[in-house]
């Protein structure tokens, strides 16, 4: 895009402006150096923090994944690739990866869809909408452990809220804590409830910054509500959707508190165990910190790959 604005001090002769300043041409290379120095100076504090608290532990974690370190031991013996070979060969790997996949896809998909729906609803001029917006957002700021404890009373098969509702309509009550499928359902629903406030508020901010004239133009052209949503609104929300898909994915994969409080990874040992919970169990329960580091490294690689694909997908979408 070409600029049509000229700086008063660089006005051309004959336009009535002041005469141009006479002097040597600007030194491009020294300007660049200054910009680089300034950028480095401003970035340095964050870079130092990232290196010390993120990248160094990451490298250390990868190193430990090739050892047999017992979390209480001062010695870590190298074991080569055996932790990785064990992880790929173990029976529970499939179950745990499956749990992680189901939990992540469900929490990312549903919390984004419901968050968008609520944002669309509460973007309308409704009475009491500010109160409702606060209510929808509130669970997000409550700690996962507190929500986990509260939802135990919701899902308790003997005296929980859901039991009460199901009994009233004559439906059998599942044992959310003992049946593997229902246990995963329970922690997934609990996490979605906590997380909807986040997707809602980000989508709401995006909706309030959208161009209403495009929608009006499409409406005048006879586009249906669904077409306007799909062809006009969603493309405008694409960067927000992309941002949410990454941040919600990362936070979903990291969920620990709700699982620890509600099921401790059970029933049957691993019915609600996700990869991050396996890292905890292997490191602190089974004392195998080396193997725990292996699971963390595998998780890192998977998430890195998913994030790269997401970035590429977004990029392609913009070019299309």
């Amino acid at each position: 895009m070409q600029s049509s604005v000229t700086h008063p001090r660089s006005a051309t002769p004959g336009t009535g402006g002041p005469p141009p300043e006479v002097g040597p041409p600007p030194r491009r290379s020294s300007g660049r150096a200054w910009e680089w120095s300034l950028a480095a100076l401003l970035l340095l504090p964050n870079l130092v923090l990232l290196i010390v608290f993120t990248y160094r532990p990451l490298l250390d974690n990868i190193r430990l994944s090739f050892t047999d370190w017992n979390v209480s031991s001062p010695i870590a013996n190298p074991v080569g690739l055996s932790n990785y070979i064990e992880w790929f060969g173990r029976d529970d790997t499939k179950i745990i990866v499956g749990n992680t996949l189901v939990f992540t896809v469900a929490t990312v998909g549903i919390s984004m869809a419901v968050g968008l729906g609520l944002a669309l609803l509460l973007d309308q001029k409704l009475r009491g909408r500010n109160l409702v917006r606060s209510v929808v957002f509130a669970p997000f700021v409550i700690s996962g452990a507190a929500i986990g404890i509260a939802f135990q009373f919701v899902f308790d098969p003997n005296y929980g809220l859901i039991r009460d509702l199901l009994v009233r309509i004559g439906v059998g009550v599942p044992d959310f804590y003992q049946e593997p499928g229902w246990a995963l359902f329970m922690v997934t629903v609990t996490y979605i409830w906590k997380n909807i406030g986040y997707t809602f508020v980000i989508y709401l901010a995006a909706l309030q910054g959208r161009r209403a004239d495009l929608d009006e133009a499409a409406e005048i052209d006879g586009a249906s509500a669904w077409t306007r949503f799909r062809r006009v609104l969603m493309p405008q929300l694409r960067p927000t959707t992309f941002f949410l898909s990454i941040t919600v994915l990362l936070s979903s994969v990291q969920v620990f508190d709700i699982i620890n409080v509600m099921t401790r990874g059970g029933p049957q040992g691993n019915a609600t165990t996700t990869l991050v919970y396996q890292v905890y169990q292997e490191t602190f329960v089974n004392q195998r910190a080396g193997y725990g580091a292996t699971v963390a490294t595998v998780m890192f690689v998977i998430l890195l790959a998913v994030t790269v694909v997401q970035v590429r997908f977004m990029d392609r979408g913009k070019k299309a």
Partner: protein, 433 residues
């Protein structure tokens, strides 16, 4: 430029998030032996306040400081359960500041001792001329590795058989617990009929919440075991018999598992359970019906449990000496009585039960008396549950599967193999080292 910035930012943010996730999830720093830090005159006591004991711990600390001028005790909230205290202690071993006294459970102490992170106390006790013969023998010897003791008993418990006396009466049963599990099976239909379809005859904690601890009683009761010393014996016909019994109880509708049977029992939904003596205070207070307690079925087959207190290996000798002075005070006969009465945990000193205030307390609280009378009938738990890393969780998972209907022999065969593999890879080479 604008396009690049946004995409670049999001990509970088994602990558940093992913890296941060792996870094946080991983173990972080390399293992090292710490210098221990800390001050010799301030004793840092890391506790999870078992049985909501924080107020009584503070009370004992206040008395200790009054009796030992120049010494202070800093009580640290080190977690909400024994496992969290162990995690915090592990983190401190990797370079942080070590406590002077730390609560270690029947499960967590062994790994620290095996990796030489807890001080053997025998020499310290001998130097301080402290007599250990007053500690209840079974509880004191639970912390023995290679003839050295690595902790002293503190918040020790056993499971008890809890029952709803009203339900027992309605079912026409005597006011007592079952002598053995076969007798319980003859009672179960009567209890079920008296309880009605909306109530549960027996509820036990699930495999994520110490089913493996209380099931130890059933296994021993049928002549089986999780292991003989370090050799897993899950496939022993008697162990399989106990597993089949558990499965049939569930199949016949007499047994349910839950995260925590205590609230269901106190609410009157459940007829009986096996729970820790540490639950006694809360259950007795909250239940709206007369609560009965009895020895676990089959005489002499009650596992010990709970926690002791240990001293880290890598702190100065001065700190160790002060720490031992505090532990001795914390677990002396008088403070044992104070702690026991406040929490429901068992007296760890033999002489404590002879003190007049304890005698009076037991007279008023016959349920607490049951726990103490059961104490001589306790046994140390089988090694593969209590000493093998992840043993409890591993067995708990198998028992959950059995209750859900999986083949008992197959589940136990897998447990044999897994337990043996963990012993071979993590314990064998370190024993006697």
């Amino acid at each position: 430029m604008n396009e690049f910035s946004r995409r670049g930012f999001l990509g970088l943010a994602g990558a940093a998030g992913v890296a941060g996730l792996a870094a946080c999830a991983g173990t972080g720093t390399a293992p090292s032996t710490g210098s221990g830090g800390g001050s010799s005159n301030t004793i840092e006591f890391w506790s999870n306040h078992p049985g909501n004991s924080k107020p009584v711990e503070q009370e004992i600390i206040k008395a200790f400081e009054a009796a030992n001028s120049g010494l202070k005790v800093k009580l640290v909230d080190a977690g909400k359960n024994y496992e969290e205290v162990a995690q915090k202690f592990n983190a401190s071993l990797a370079g942080g500041s070590l406590p002077d006294v730390v609560v270690v459970s029947d499960v967590t102490w062994f790994n620290f001792a095996l990796n030489k992170q807890l001080s053997p106390l025998d020499e310290l006790l001998a130097t301080a001329k402290l007599d250990t013969s007053d500690y209840v023998d079974a509880l004191y010897n639970d912390y023995n590795l290679d003839d050295k003791h690595y902790a002293l008993p503190f918040s020790r418990s056993t499971p008890l058989f809890y029952y709803n006396k009203d339900l027992w009466k309605a079912a026409g049963l005597e006011d007592r617990g079952p002598k053995d599990w076969d007798e319980f099976l003859t009672w179960a239909p009567k209890l079920k009929a008296a309880a009605g379809s909306d109530k549960i005859v027996m509820e036990l904690p699930d495999g994520s919440n110490y089913l493996d601890w209380v099931f130890q009683n059933m296994v021993w009761g049928y002549g089986g075991a999780y292991s003989k010393e370090w050799t897993p014996t899950f496939s022993d016909p008697n162990t399989v018999k106990a597993g089949t019994y558990l499965q049939n109880l569930a199949k016949d509708g007499y047994l349910k598992l839950s995260k925590d049977p205590a609230p269901d029992f106190t609410a009157g939904i459940v007829g009986c359970s096996m729970m820790s003596t540490g639950s006694l205070g809360g259950v007795a207070k909250d239940a709206k019906f007369p609560v009965g307690t009895a020895f676990l079925p089959t005489d002499g087959n009650c596992p010990t449990g709970g926690a002791g207190v240990g001293i880290p290996a890598n702190i100065s000798d001065d700190r160790k000496k002060n720490a031992l002075t505090f532990i001795e005070f914390l677990t002396n006969a008088q403070n044992t009585v104070t702690f026991t009465q406040a929490t429901g945990y068992m007296p760890v000193r033999k002489s404590a039960v002879e003190l007049p205030e304890e005698k009076a307390f037991l007279e008023k609280n016959p349920n607490a008396k049951t726990a103490i009378e059961q104490l001589p009938k306790t046994r140390s738990q089988d090694n593969v549950r209590v000493l093998l890393p992840g043993g409890g969780a591993r067995i708990g998972k198998g028992l959950d599967q059995i209750v859900q209907g999986q083949d008992v022999a197959a589940v136990f065969k897998a447990l044999d193999a897994e337990s043996q593999q963990v012993f071979d890879s993590q314990i064998k080479s370190k024993l006697g080292a």
